[in-house]
């Protein structure tokens, strides 16, 4: 991801708040009344996308403990 695609800081802060709630909380249904999409750890993917969008993914890759504590 290049510089131009990065989110402005304030927008990123709000988005982290949202992703943390919307992808990580709420009711998760199981069984055949739903597809299994929501049950998997989308928040892991989502937060990594946001990290990449502020250009810190490389730094975090060298520090796995920090990535884990975000989840």
């Amino acid at each position: 991801m290049n510089e131009d695609e990065r989110l402005p800081l304030e927008q990123q802060i709000t988005l982290v708040e949202l992703v943390d709630r919307v992808l990580n909380k709420g009711v998760v249904l199981s069984g055949d009344v739903v597809l299994s999409v929501a049950g998997i750890d989308l928040v892991y993917v989502g937060l990594r996308v946001l990290l990449a969008s502020v250009g810190t993914l490389e730094r975090l890759n060298s520090n796995p403990a920090m990535t884990a504590s975000a989840l």
Partner: protein
Amino acid sequence: MTLEATAIDARTGRYVFGVVTGGDAEAVAALPLEPVAGGAGVSLVREGPLAAIVSPVSLDEYDLETVHARVADVDWLERNVRAHENVLEQALHMAPVVPFRFCTVSPTEGDVRRLLSEHADELARVLERIRGKVELGVKAFFDRERLERKLAQAGLADDLSDAGPGRAYLLRRQRERELGGEVERFRSECAEQSHSHLSELADDSCLVALQPLELTGRDGEMLHNDAYIVRRGLASLEPAVAGLADRYREYGVSFELTGPWPPHNFVPRQLAAS
């Protein structure tokens, strides 16, 4: 608009945002709700005393693999996360709403009805419990350098008041070693006292995982991250959070109050069968 009146092919599922009571369905259906990406409008599916807020979406667009790939696209992620939240927040203005996890998709409208009837008792109980309440978030951040300076000053002033120069040097070295532990002790005490103070003003509270520095985009490290469910919106905690900010400012701690949110943190992850 009823979904039955719309031509929907077999590959169309229902994205489920959340659940309200049947009594609130009409008011929520009248809101100008915007669907998630690829969604064909937002409508209510009623079953018994409950109603689900749904958007018809292509099952090909919302299957596991496609969603996994799309979530990695920051524009798609942002658009859909905001769409999901906006629907819930608008509904929240009208009625209690049980938020569902992002990208909960039922294959058919019949499946939506079935999930409402299968979990009718618990959904009704949760809706009753959250009626008239909203979720607030409280985070605290601290400036490590400032906190260390403050703690170092406080300790040294006491210790050095009656020490000679040699002893003062040794005491200073000892203080440096102790400082790391004091920072940690301060962090947990500040978090614990903030939480217990704010909990008294809320109906319920829960601890949320701390976010790392890199993710928050702040100057300071996160010290405290809690969610509260309250009856009077932001005003329920605003004065108390301002009070905590005053009390801890000299230690380099700042507080942040967010919300009102739908009660994402105060609904069960799994629903019991009725």
